[in-house]
Each structure stands twice: as C-alpha cells, then as structure tokens.
C-alpha cells in the first residue's frame, strides 16, 4: 500500500513560491530576446530540450564539435544544472560570413531549470552523435493512497 509522508506548511509554502518563481522566470525568458552567444565569456548557448516522464527527467543538449572529455554537468541547486563543454575548434563570426561582429567561441555553456524534483546525485550522462543526454530520476516526496 502506498504511504503518505506528512509535510509541514512551511514546505508547502516554499514549494508554492519556488513554483511561482519558476513560472515567472519562464515568462521572462519568453519576453527577453537575447543572442544565443556571449562575446564576453566567448561561449555559445546550446539548443536543449527537457522531457518529464513519470520516472525521470531527460535533458538533451545539442553539442556539435564537442570534445567529449570536456563535458561538465554541475548541479547548482535542487532544480538547476549548468552544462558546459569545449569545442574541438574555434568558431569565429567570420567563419559564417559575419564581419560586423568580432569574436570567437570555443565553448558551450547554459543553465537549465529542472521543472520537477529530482535526485541530482543519481544523474546519468551519455554523449552520442553530438547529443548530450542527462537522465535524472524523479523524486516523489509523497503518494496519495487509494481509498
């Protein structure tokens, strides 16, 4: 039979505000247009995707030109991970025919919010065909018993 773990009112309020903050961040992201590259840090923001299944969260990241042994995935807090990787070659704007910007990039970097609670310490990572796949088991804090 499923068990029910009691949570304090403070936990529930904390979770509510975390959720609210996350929604606000997503909304801000849709409003603020920004380039996908950063000249100051010489990094490119990779394309990524998050899928939530009943048992895990799967984050995939498109990392062309990446040297596999330089990939790093770091949990920043309970719901955020930072992904970084170095590329095998430097990419300059000039390589794409762009001459009005100066800058070269040799790394990917991004931070991603995980939409549900997960076990960060049980993260599994693999890299295939230039796609990084991060699997995070979901943390189910409580279950509602069927009466």
């Amino acid at each position: 039979m499923a068990t029910k773990k009691r949570r304090s009112i403070f936990d529930i309020i904390d979770e509510y505000f975390e959720d609210l903050e996350e929604r606000a961040e997503r909304f801000r992201e849709t409003l603020i247009e920004r380039p996908s590259w950063n000249q100051k840090t010489c990094t490119i923001e990779p394309l990524r995707n998050i899928m939530v299944t009943p048992t895990e969260v799967i984050v995939t990241v498109d990392l062309p030109y990446t040297e596999e042994n330089t990939i790093q995935v770091k949990p920043l807090d309970k719901k955020t991970i930072e992904i970084s990787a170095r590329m095998r070659r430097k990419i300059r704007f000039y390589d794409f025919g762009i001459t009005h910007y100066r800058g070269e990039f040799q790394a990917f970097d991004c931070q991603t919010r995980i939409p549900v609670l997960v076990y960060m310490d049980k993260m599994k990572i693999r890299f295939k065909k230039g796609i990084l796949e991060i699997r995070l088991p979901r943390k189910h804090e409580y279950t509602i018993p069927i009466e």
Binding site: S36, I44, L47, D62, Y65, I131
Partner: protein, 255 residues
C-alpha cells in the same frame, strides 16, 4: 522583369527572371529538424544552375530582410532552373500567417503550370540519436501520386496527424487537383538534422531523378548544426504555436 503577381493585398510574388513552365516545385521550409531548409540549402549549393527567379513581398511577414553581400533579400525566395523551382525560407514563418503564405506560393506555382509539388520535411522521433538508419515516409495529395511513390519503394505515412506548411500544401493541392507529395525523414524534433536532410534528398532523387551528392552535407554536418541553431530556436517557438506535437497523437479513425 520585376513583375509582381498579386495573390492578395498582403502577399505578392515578384519575379526577377523568366520562370520555367511545367517544372516540379519543391518546398524547403522551417520545420522539425530544419530538414527542408537544410536540404534546400544543399540543393542550391550543389546544383550550380539554380538561380533566384522570384521572391515574396508580404506585409504578413515580420519586418525583416536577409543581407547577402550587403544587399537585401526577401527571407522567402524561389530558385529555379529549367526543371525545378525551389521555394525556401531563411526565417521561421509565423504560425498565424502560414496559411496565407503557403496558399500564395501554391497558387503562384499553379499559375506557372508546375506539374507537381514536393515538400521536403521531417517527422520527429524520440531517441533519435540511437537510430542508425533513418526512414523516409511519404504522403500525397491523391491516390495516383501515392501509388507512384509506393511503387518506387517509398514507405507511406498511412495514419496520423500532419502539422505545418506541408499539411497546408497537401490539403490545398488536393483541393485544386495538383499532384503533391510530402517527404518526411525521421529526425530530431528541435535540433538541426543534416543526416535527415540527406535522407530526404536521396528519396527525392529516387522519385524525380534529381541526383544530388549528399556526401558534403554529411561531412559538414556539425558546421550545419551550429550554423542553423538560431533559425531552429525561432522555428521551435513557431512549432509550439502550431501545436506541432500533435503529430505524436493517435487519430480517432473516422472512415
């Protein structure tokens, strides 16, 4: 030249050069995996005789031009030679105007007596990175065209939903009695997929006899993925507005 064919007050197609009659018209528009755009771009670089013959001028599109060598170009252009016309978009097309844009291009093509329309696109699959051999499926505007491609060994997309420019193309062409075909290569949903573009071009060759070497496309795969990132990101936003994930749904069968 510079003749404008007004298809509506909001969409015009301006011709720069003589447009051939009786060609096959191809579409490479932003969609999942940017399969169509990557395939179209490779066609233009491989077939040296494809020249810009027309472009779209539309108030429905965002206030945007594409600069090449310092000169302005419409984001939606039509390239052509004696045998093919290729409509390609270098920018994500806003979901709310896709009908008008597609109708204008199809009606223009019909006016040029195109004998067939073929849309190059993708069909997303999960765990794409684990798939070695990508399949290409086809759907057609009429049973004769479907039979022809089936006889050539192309697998048919029998049941399911189709969302996006290729859906509009099939429906419109079915309505006006113009043979049309959509080729869909298995691909990533939201990452540029040059391998899928190469597969779709191989199937196109089988159907039309248009031979294109895809080896350079595969060699430059990583460069293409990096270059196409920003268009993919914006396309993703429009796909979400179009409810593109409905393609994963199982339809209710109504005979």
């Amino acid at each position: 030249m510079g003749e404008g064919l007004s298809l509506s007050d909001d969409v015009k197609i301006i011709e720069n050069k003589q447009v051939p009659s009786g060609a096959i018209m191809l579409f490479g528009f932003p969609d999942v995996g940017l399969v169509g755009v990557i395939a179209a771009s490779h066609l233009i670089s491989e077939l040296k005789n494809l020249e810009e013959v027309a472009y779209m001028d539309s108030k429905l599109l965002p206030p945007l031009i594409v600069l090449h060598e310092g000169l302005p170009h419409s984001p939606i252009r039509i390239f052509g030679n004696q045998d093919i016309l290729l409509a390609v978009s270098e920018t994500a097309i806003p979901a709310d105007v896709i009908h008008q844009i597609m109708y204008a291009l199809i009606d223009w093509g019909k006016n040029k007596n195109v004998k067939m329309m073929i849309s190059l696109s993708g069909i997303p699959i999960q765990e794409r990175q684990d798939v070695q051999e990508l399949k290409v499926f086809a759907a057609a505007s009429n049973s004769e065209t479907l039979k022809k491609v089936q006889d050539l060994g192309v697998e048919i997309l029998k049941e399911g939903y189709m969302v996006g420019p290729q859906a509009i193309m099939l429906q419109r062409c079915a309505g006006i009695g113009l043979p049309a075909l959509t080729l869909l290569a298995q691909c990533f949903f939201n990452y540029p997929d040059p391998e899928a573009a190469a597969e779709v071009l191989k199937e196109l060759a089988k159907i039309t006899g248009l031979k294109v070497d895809v080896s350079t496309l595969l060699e430059k795969g990583e460069e293409v993925r990096l270059r196409a990132r920003d268009v993919m990101r914006r396309t993703q936003q429009e796909l979400s507005k179009m409810k593109k994930t409905q393609e994963y749904d199982i339809p209710v069968y109504i005979s």
